[in-house]
Symmetry: D2
Subunit: 336 residues, 4 copies
């Protein structure tokens, strides 16, 4: 049994509490810490089998019984809490991104060195049944050598402008998942990025200095081209699809919906919309990524998404921002 | 070049005129006869390349230049016109059904004997790209030995009661196509039929002594079970699907629509309705069945649907009516 | 918190143990009883949070702390254990069928009278996301008045002959789920059944006096016709689909697969097979049906599937057997 | 009746001969001219109803009876033959592209001025049932304001290197259709293009100075982003899809296949490949584009694709080549 502490009981923290509680039998949540912990959240956490709740993350860091820490707090605390946890000798599961600042990620990399501690970044989509099956098909040679990879990633609704301002921009907040997916599906790193972006959804996002719509082209090390299309708003719900075209064929995945019911009437043949957003679509994936982390601890294996996998998409995001700003293709090596 | 005469310039006659004119290069339409021939139809026929129009079928029967006759007149004239044409030494393409009276079909069979003339019945669906591909898959062993065959056949709108009264009833008018399809897909004859029928669409149809909704089960000679579901009305259009389940798998076909456009919005993901009715769905099939008939004449081959193929579904229809009336399974041999 | 005891730790018992343990937060499993309880099963049960394991069902019946009993033992014990549990004042969740003998089910009905105890039968498919959404669409008027309901239900592999012999026959063992589904989708009872059956899959099943393939037609009280097709073997996996055709349109559901990946290559465009069998397909449904049972207890509501819902499909199964044997339509009232 | 002359009896010339002969009733083909005209082609043309065949295009240009000319010869003759035909007072249907040289297209534009002659460019895909329905949905506001347009365009097999060398390069030969489609779907012109290209299919194509794989991003005047992905080889056949994402939803089209048959077996559920190549996919579209041209002549309307619509995609192709060569976004205005 691995004893874990969870820092952050916001939306994503709650997702992990619930999914560990229901689906990860080899882990028990000893403590949940959140500076805004209140009675309601504490009660709910207890109903989920959490032993203690606190406002102070130190209660986790200083608890010798706790083996591993899940960092689900706000992005600006990820790298410093990672460092603290590593110092305290704890395995770390850190929500994405580790940091917007490459140097801070490098500090985490340095701190890990020689410790033997496990570190995993929360790119949950790799654990989605569709993306997982797609990657498996491609890696298994079902389409030959990958040549063009297309990733569609559209959110149902734009976030508020306050969120946008602190998010690091669309490329580091939203596209970062797609950058990880590009690496996962291509099986290698990107060397260059070109961004064509626009502010079409909400003028306030543009006023905040960000974009909300983009087409992003990546050159991958293995010669494949990747194209990602992003939008902060999709009237029909969360749109998460991908297609890998290769020398011997194509593999593609579609969205999930609540059921397969279709209604045929004099208006046409209508199926359900995709599941609304990431909580609906990726609930199982959240559970599976933590199960993989716990498994890596118990069986002393590499985590499926190490700290380097946390660094690479951040570099891609920074290069993407530069490309969008300077309106030219940008090599990843320029921002390293 | 095969010279053909067409008797009947109603809906189905016009379909054949247009499709021969556009798509059957080895045939030329010399004469079209229809007792109700008017100026408008005659003009239209000429624009389609028809050489003569007349009110009198004898102008076709007595024309030694005409090699083949297409009988597209009302059902009650099919068998007598067939006999006349055979007597006149002409190949015959006859719209379904040859007759509602088995004895009259047998007269046609007798008349044909020893003449060497070609005779084809107009079960056009066998020439539809979907049904043709389905049959080919099944006959090619793709699903192993057929065990359960399901045929969905629903019209978009019920016919008028006058039509119903003279139609011979739903089983001889509408289901007869599905009986032919059952034979085509199973590759053998039926031995027994059971009908569960109802009058759910239009009370006037019931008052006319007919049904408008039915589930029909067939026992086939090769052991397979067939189930047909019929309705005279489908709000979403013409529904013509089939599924063949066998020892090694299943093959299925869906409806055709005008295009593959789907619209995803906050109401769902909507594709087009099926093509509205048989003219839209089977236009190519009408052309291909006549091409096959012409080909059989030119190359002295058997037609794909001989006079026996015209008899069998009529027997199935008569047995179905008996089953519906007497509410019990009826062997085909009972009505032979 | 509802304390439950589970009798039977075979395949379906284990499914309920796991799904309650992971997904039904308002219930705790106090005791699991199985005459064949061994160390391995006991250990596994404990890892799932079960407090006690025993070989003796009386340890459950006599335990005043236990509020509710789940009967997951062999079919021949369902009705007697139901009676015992009711006598002991416990709510009962009973796997289908309650009994093959109508009189024994009536004893259970009589025993329940006036007790206020909850009784639920395990027709899990009503809780499947697809069937649930289909029923909701139909009940919500999306297709108008239901006229033809088609249920496809095919198992991937036939059971062993020993199982077949003790199963009560295909209609009471396998089709019984589809009979329940017919009632669920039509929203009313059947009045008549006609069966066309065959022994096409395994001759040994025929030698054991059973069939393995059937097309079953039902006349429903509301005028709708239902057709069920069954086979004990489907090369592509568990086939569980349905379609409801009504006066204003059609609603249909398809199978579930592990992922939505399709591979296009020079062989065609290939998607995944359906999920293999009921454990894969209905795992969530098993959890939801027990959650509904627990909810009925806690909030003193009717269970969604009362003891009468357990009786009706048995009557339909008995009538179906009679129809298959006597080769004629059989009214349900004949077997009441 | 419009009398047409066709110059060029190669692959595309034959397509037009057959489709006019079968499907365009208001046109008659008086003369087909081809310097390589041989007996076989002449015979075939006559069987299609063509009145004369010749090796000399002057026989068409100088024939006062001929109203309109279809230019289906090699690309390098398109603009000069256009000029000749205009001089001879004939309406012109010209296969794409008019020329690779913008100045020559401008000569055609100048020559047309004030003549009242009709001129149409052969971008056949606009007449495909799927693309037509997609454009209609978008123009009809079904997805709101277009924001991201994705066009997939992949050929089944690369052409020979000799063809590649004389083709003007992939962007002017293959992508030019997609550039037209971008304008058609967006309803406006492009202002900028960025190309990420590669030589992944055949090294000989690279040695000939061309690319065979590309991802192309366009900035459209109305703010929408377009992304096109091209490959000269797709193992599963001709891949021609598009998706338009807008402020209120998304519209998408898929490929066509020969039939809708799917086979489910223990390997999965397999449907047919897309139709092999443009002749199979766009046969109806070829007929419809010429019908539209004839209709414009008869009813004195604008052709749906005027000479300016022939110029714009060439400019886009030249800019795309420049972007590929110089590895930077290129404004269309740079190449005007």
């Amino acid at each position: 049994m691995v004893k874990v502490g969870i820092i952050g009981a916001g939306r994503i923290g709650k997702v992990h509490i619930a999914s560990i509680s229901k689906g990860v039998r080899e882990a028990v949540i000893k403590t949940v810490a959140d500076p805004y912990m209140n009675e309601e959240t504490a009660q709910w956490a207890k109903s989920m089998g959490v032993m203690n709740t606190t406002k102070d993350p130190s209660d986790i860091m200083n608890d010798p019984e706790i083996d591993a820490v899940l960092i689900c707090s706000s992005t600006d605390t990820h790298s410093s809490l990672s460092l603290e946890a590593i110092k305290a000798g704890k395995h770390v599961f850190c929500e994405k991104p580790i940091d917007h600042d490459v140097d801070k990620i490098k500090e985490v990399i340095a701190a890990l060195e020689g410790t033997g501690l496990k570190y995993q970044v929360g790119f949950n989509r790799r654990f989605d049944h569709n993306f997982e099956a797609l990657q498996k098909a491609v890696a298994g040679g079902k389409v030959g050598k990958p040549e063009i990879i297309k990733i569609t990633s559209r959110d149902p609704e734009p976030p508020g402008v306050d969120y946008v301002k602190s998010s690091g921009g669309m490329f580091l907040d939203m596209t970062i998942h797609d950058f990880d997916m590009a690496r996962f599906l291509a099986g290698c790193d990107a060397t260059e990025v070109y961004v064509q972006s626009a502010n079409l959804v909400d003028p306030a996002i543009g006023e905040a200095g960000d974009v909300d719509t983009a087409v992003i082209t990546l050159q991958m090390e293995n010669g494949a081209l990747v194209v990602i299309d992003n939008c902060r708003r999709a009237a029909y719900g969360y749109d998460q699809r991908a297609e890998v075209f290769g020398s011997e064929g194509m593999a593609a995945i579609s969205n999930d919906s609540e059921s397969s019911v279709t209604i045929a009437n004099n208006q046409g043949v209508t199926g359900e919309k995709p599941l609304f957003f990431f909580l609906e679509r990726y609930m199982d994936a959240y559970s599976k990524e933590v199960a993989a982390f716990i498994d890596a601890i118990i069986n002393d294996k590499d985590t499926p998404l190490g700290v380097e996998d946390g660094l690479k998409p951040v570099l891609m995001g920074i290069a993407a921002k530069k490309s969008s700003d300077e309106h030219r293709p940008v090599k990843i090596s320029e921002v390293m």
